[in-house]
């Protein structure tokens, strides 16, 4: 193991001025916040493709998305792939909230995705394998290119900066947000549009199923009976700016990004380090960058996939970080509500963390019924009103990648 790369304090204050989100819970912050408050899970039987031969038969699927932007022509909307529609919907909400809807936006676009447009590639591949019509081949192939979805954002919202697409598995968009914050903190940009997106696809669904990492029952993070994750899909976009720029244009400041830590376990391609060394390193680095003591953390939005290995190691790492406060600080995974949105998870959970700060509540860890001695944490099964000032969000991915983001109220 690892350190991941030194910590530094942020040279400038980095704030969030706009957020947009699409998950199985619905479109927009309100739908997500309501689902979190009531503990309503969006997991349902899989309808997008045939999973009858899989152990797991459920997923948190995004419903039909309507075009809510007058910047996207109706004809163009109809031709877009699902994941582009999710990303554009999230971007629209974020840019509206940040009041960046008129004129070109000179900002880098830094997004994370594990699969990108892979579903389109699958449709093409399936048509080839089964000698089906390839009438849509051109669209499928161009949508399969990983840069295609960010290109749609650039085109429709007139974003003129460079594109960066990070593909760090389930840590992709947490890394994208962290890197964006560093770009701003070090004066390389004064505004960055950051986030992540991933749609359900056969390759990833069957992949986790084949590894016995997906649950045939219920997703129960940190529960003694947990037996795997449930996949989801979605997109989340955040507008990040310097505090000075946001203040100068009287933008509403939703939260501040105080710290970011990343690390790598060199332990195994799919399994985390059993002692959680990499996870601990990422959390510690985020706190060091923020100049925040672990004792100041009020809530942790855990990666919490509900696989036996992840939750056990994450609990160890969190206990190591929090010390005696581990019994008090609420820790919850929201993946039983949103599903594991893979490359989008870091961004979706960044939005959840900021919603928790903004609305002063701890999101619930639904389906948590039987505490596990190996995961001895304060896990709330229902949403709790609570005074929150500083929130940590974890995202870990295949390849041993770990990322932690630390948010606070401005």
């Amino acid at each position: 193991m690892v350190d991941g790369g030194g910590s530094e304090t942020m040279n400038a204050r980095v704030v969030v001025t706009g957020m947009g989100v699409v998950t199985g819970c619905g479109t927009g912050q309100t739908a997500l916040r309501d689902a979190l408050r009531t503990g309503r899970s969006s997991v349902r039987p899989m309808e997008l493709f045939d999973v009858s031969t899989c152990r797991c038969q459920t997923a948190a699927q995004v419903g039909t998305l309507e075009n809510s932007s007058d910047r996207i022509p109706r004809k163009a909307w109809r031709r877009l792939d699902r994941v582009s529609k999710m990303l554009l919907t999230a971007a629209q909400e974020a840019l509206e909230e940040a009041r960046l809807t008129s004129g070109p936006i000179h900002a880098p676009l830094v997004l994370g995705s594990s699969g990108g447009g892979i579903r389109s590639g699958e449709l093409y591949h399936r048509a080839l394998l089964q000698n089906q019509s390839r009438r849509h081949a051109a669209t499928w192939l161009s949508d399969y290119l990983a840069q295609q979805q960010p290109l749609h954002v650039q085109r429709f919202f007139d974003v003129t900066g460079p594109i960066l697409t990070l593909a760090n598995a389930c840590a992709s968009s947490a890394n994208a947000i962290g890197y964006s914050a560093q770009l701003i903190a070090h004066g390389e940009a004064d505004c960055v549009i950051a986030g992540g997106y991933d749609a359900l696809c056969e390759l990833i669904f069957v992949g986790f199923d084949s590894l016995m990492a997906a649950t045939p029952t219920l997703c129960r993070p940190f529960d003694k009976r947990r037996d795997g994750m449930v996949l989801g899909e979605g997109a989340a976009v955040l507008v990040l700016e310097t505090f000075e720029r946001a203040s100068a244009r009287h933008a509403d400041i939703l939260a501040e990004i105080r710290g970011y830590g990343q690390s790598i376990d060199t332990h195994h391609i799919t399994q985390p380090h059993p002692e959680g060394d990499g996870a601990y390193a990422a959390m510690r680095l985020a706190c060091e960058m923020a100049g925040v003591e672990a004792s100041e953390i009020d809530y942790i939005n855990a990666h919490g996939t509900a696989t036996p290995q992840n939750d056990a190691m994450e609990a160890k790492a969190i206990r190591r970080l929090l010390g005696v406060r581990a019994a008090d600080v609420p820790v919850s995974s929201t993946k039983a509500i949103t599903g594991h949105t893979v490359g989008a998870a870091g961004a979706v959970e960044a939005v959840i963390s900021i919603l928790a700060l903004k609305n002063q509540f701890v999101p619930p860890n639904v389906n948590f019924e039987s505490p596990d001695e190996g995961c001895a944490l304060n896990v709330p099964a229902a949403a709790q009103p609570r005074s929150l000032r500083t929130v940590l969000s974890n995202s870990f991915g295949f390849g041993g990648l770990n990322a932690s983001l630390l948010f606070s109220l401005p």
Binding site: T53, H125, A137, N168, A169, Q182, Q262, I269, F398
Partner: protein
């Protein structure tokens, strides 16, 4: 802060030694497929038993770059070495195989051994593990110019003191379906062959001994929407502007295609004639062979026009 290139490594259809490949290109040889490459030839690890061709290419290039820089695994003079992998297509072969197993035989027919290797960041993870590189680890996706995005990110990591050195790797494996698709839709010129391989550059801060040269300027990439915009975007790219302001005339211009840039007296190098189109790997080959061709103290401008996303450039000094 000066960013130096302390080690390079390549896997190309014309060989794995920079000097030999350059000589073969100079003789007019052309090739598009890399023969069997076993990364275990450079570094032994159980992690490589089931990995894809793209990972073998990446690890082989990375191990050569580390060796070229005079480092050994776990070298204490570089405690924090990061890895940035730049890919345009990722591990397509295993992705296709795994998906075909599912389509033909249902979930039970899909091998759990293949799935982890289909993830885009598998190569970067394997490199970190087998070479013991525990600095920041990231994989970037994009068109050919993504290799330059990776160089810019590596510069950031060094500048921000997140790493002592960063290994930038760009691997690419050939896939028949993609070639068919690209040909069918005329996304590439007919005369260019589809190729594969990898390139790796080990970057460090100025305190390290420069071996190959230094990066004078590297762009983050600028998006293009219409081909007619490309000449202006390229001319305005910081690395190209810097090259135009050089007091010593530019000697080498390494281009990805038919970029319309005028640097009188500069020798124009286009490796695609010899090595074909290898997307992200090809962009870093341009840097490597541009540097290889240059004389000491010469400046080399490397430009890349990606298929559908961005134009970018990097200015390096031998």
């Amino acid at each position: 802060m000066t960013v130096t290139i302390t080690g390079i490594g390549v896997v190309t259809p014309l060989g794995l030694e920079v000097r030999e490949v350059a000589e073969r290109m100079a003789r007019g040889e052309r090739a598009n497929r890399v023969g069997p490459v076993d990364a275990a030839q450079f570094v032994r690890s159980d992690r490589l038993r089931r990995c894809t061709r793209i990972t073998h290419f990446a690890v082989a290039a990375a191990a050569q770059a580390v060796r070229d820089a005079g480092l050994s695994i776990g070298d204490e003079s570089y405690p924090r070495v990061g890895v940035i992998s730049a890919v345009s297509k990722g591990p397509i072969e295993y992705s296709r195989k795994f998906h075909a197993q599912f389509v033909r035989g249902g979930a039970k027919g899909a091998s759990p051994m293949l799935f982890p290797e289909t993830v885009a960041n598998a190569s970067a993870s394997h490199i970190a593990s087998v070479l013991g590189l525990t600095g920041p680890n990231t994989t970037l996706f994009g068109d050919a110019a993504v290799g330059f995005n990776a160089l810019a990110m590596a510069r950031d990591f060094l500048k921000w003191n997140l790493a002592d050195a960063v290994l930038v790797v760009a691997p690419h494996e050939h896939d028949d379906i993609f070639e068919d698709a690209y040909r069918r839709f005329r996304w590439l010129l007919p005369k260019i062959g589809f190729s594969e391989g990898a390139a790796a550059l080990l970057l460090a801060r100025d305190e390290a001994t420069p071996h190959w040269g230094e990066i004078v300027e590297v762009d983050r990439g600028q998006p293009w929407r219409r081909r007619s915009e490309i000449p202006n975007l390229l001319a305005a790219a910081p690395a190209v502007s810097s090259a135009a302001r050089l007091q010593v005339p530019l000697k080498t211009l390494s281009v990805s295609g038919d970029e319309k840039l005028s640097f009188p007296g500069a020798q124009r190098l286009c490796i695609k004639d010899s090595l074909g189109e290898a997307f992200a790997a090809g962009a870093l080959w341009q840097v490597v062979f541009g540097l290889q061709q240059a004389q000491t103290h010469d400046n080399v401008l490397v430009t890349c026009v990606g298929l559908n996303e961005q134009v970018s450039a990097v200015l390096v000094r031998r």
